[in-house]
Amino acid sequence: MAEVTPSEKQQLSESTVPMGFNVIVREFKKDKVAISSLVIIIVLLSIAFIGSAIIDTRELMKVDILNQYANPSSQHWLGTDISGRDVFGELIVGAKNSILIGFSITIITSIVGVSVGIISGYYGGIVDNILMRIVDFVMILPMQMLIIVFVTIIPKYNIFSFVTIMSAFYWVGKARLFRSKTLSEGRKDYVSASKTLGTGDIKIMFREVMPNLSSLIITNLTINFAANIGIETGLSFLGFGLPSDVPSLGTLIGFAKDSDVLVNKTWVWLPASLFVLIMMLSINYVGQALGRSADAKQRLG
């Protein structure tokens, strides 16, 4: 009876669906824009990280008031800013900072959000109720404003406190998303099976359920990464992001709040704006392509 019956053989070949990484590779091969986006991201990241390894930040941030708003030249490729600092250098170091901060916030919020979501959805009942009431409350706060207020009233303000404040607000959306996914995943029998097989709750949540949410986690991570870079540069732009002695893309773009800079000294803000724009567009596109490969209905083929 060990032989495979013909009907089974047929079903067997039909059900050989490609899974996981292969699907992503196939999806990207079909999508030229996604590949170009990926290449752009890699190039921009390399420039930012290799460049800032070479540049001496302290030297870069030295004020040279005589050299204020110098035009682009062979010495300063993108000219200088209000304090006579080299814009090109600031752009590179700022890009690295913005990327790193966006990344840290994404990682922290993902760890917290995904964990809370899975725990909430898996246990249900009182645990779920308490966690979701907290999530509901944070969700309805005017987050952007509160972050700005916190930034102004925190006494010893630095990069670390900025990341903490941002993370404290932005984990909730993820928690809610992954709770609802866990709820539907947890109804499947393999979770019940694991319970009857004597597997512990923690192991079921993070070794059984979580792998089944992995494609969503990756997609969500990517799009969030772009969003967090946007939020960081936006707040720095307003002057409530990174401390002023830390180069950031947002601070560079923020010089354009002065209409003279906006109109006559485009070299200060335009490159940083374009950098952010291209970065966001590429990361989002890659994120969407990942999302498509996770969803069989939307796959290109």
């Binding site: 009876m1 060990a2 495979v4 019956t5 009907s7 089974e8 079903q11 067997l12 059900s15 050989t16 669906v17 899974m19 499947k188 029998d189 393999y190 019940s192 099976a193 694991s194 319970k195 009857t196 097989l197 004597g198 597997t199 059984e208 792998p211 089944n212 992995s214």
Partner: protein, 316 residues
């Protein structure tokens, strides 16, 4: 006669919340006072229409469903509490086979990891020993060796269900709750899986709690039967008791509904079904109380019980 597991007046009620403050206004009586004794090496069939509470009983036996009141006694311990299940070998001794083989196997895990899951939880084996054990399990259910590193979606429904059986047997359990194990499969594959289950039962001296709505399958598999309706047992007995001497009107109705391939006497069967249906409509008040609840079981013979009110015992 060695008792393996006993359900003692088991009740599982779900609250219905409604109204402005979401207060509990009523209960769904999914299982309402069920008593049953399972013996070693035998197969018990739990039969009933969907919503009758048969799956709920199965789930409560393996500890997936919280019991409202009553006991599940295993080797002298009430295992309705999670702590008791953990302290004893209960989780190892009682396993489950699920109806939907696709959803009961984690799609992100390879076969070796799926079948090794209970082994890893209960035993300390080296990788090599573990692999050998998984291999043995696959042999028992007749799956080829190269299945080890495949994913569940690479198999057909029947093969997946055999994997489910292999996983349940991996800890050498004493009781397996099989919740409609073959109702999602093609008829030809059903027999195959059932035969494996029977074969394993002889090899391991297993008991099955076999939950099904398919009377044909149950007749083939089970020594003893319990017919459920509206969360209660209407009739309990051996296979012969139930099939040859049904007492409760619901059992009769259920048996008459088995389709018969007997073209010659088609009209006769039809008439018989009609008669039973009429009887059911007529006598419904004799078999259910004014709230539509099934009566308590009465002894018919030493093995046979039915929820009927004896005419002669009326007024007691």
């Amino acid at each position: 006669m060695s008792e393996l597991l006993r359900l003692n007046d088991l009740k599982i009620h779900y609250p219905i919340r409604s109204g402005f403050f979401n207060r509990i206004t009523d209960y769904v009586y999914a299982v309402d006072g069920v008593t049953l004794t399972l013996e070693r090496g035998k197969t018990y069939g739990l039969i009933g229409e969907s919503g009758s509470g048969k799956s709920t009983i199965g789930k409560s036996v393996v500890g997936l469903e919280k019991v409202t009141s009553g006991e599940v006694v295993y080797e002298g311990n009430d295992v309705t509490k999670r702590s008791v299940r953990k302290a004893t070998k209960y989780n190892q001794d009682v396993q489950m086979i699920f109806q939907d083989s696709m959803s009961s196997l984690n799609p992100k895990k390879r076969v070796i990891d799926i079948i090794a899951e209970p082994i890893r939880n209960f035993e300390n084996l080296t990788d090599l020993e573990e692999k050998k054990r998984v291999q043995e399990m696959l042999d028992i259910v007749g799956m080829p060796t190269d299945s080890l590193y495949k994913y569940p979606h690479e198999f057909s429904g029947g093969q997946r269900q055999r994997l489910g059986v292999a996983r349940a047997v991996a800890t050498s359990p004493k009781l397996i709750v099989a919740d409609e194990p073959v109702s999602a499969l093609d008829l030809s594959v059903q027999a195959q899986v059932l035969n494996f289950m029977k074969h394993i039962q002889q090899q391991y001296d297993l008991s099955y709690l076999f939950i099904s709505h398919d009377l044909g399958v149950v007749k083939y598999m089970c020594d003893n039967l319990a017919i459920m309706h509206k969360g209660r047992f209407v009739e309990v007995g051996t296979r012969e008791d139930i099939y040859t001497n049904p007492q409760h009107i619901y059992t009769k109705r259920l048996l008459s509904a088995i389709p018969k391939i007997d073209v010659e006497n088609r009209e006769q069967h039809k008439a018989q079904r009609r008669a039973v249906e009429l009887e059911y409509q007529d006598l419904i008040s004799d078999y259910y109380d004014e709230n539509g609840r099934v009566y308590d079981l009465q002894d018919i013979s030493s093995t046979h019980k039915a929820a009927v009110i004896h005419r002669e015992s009326e007024g007691v």
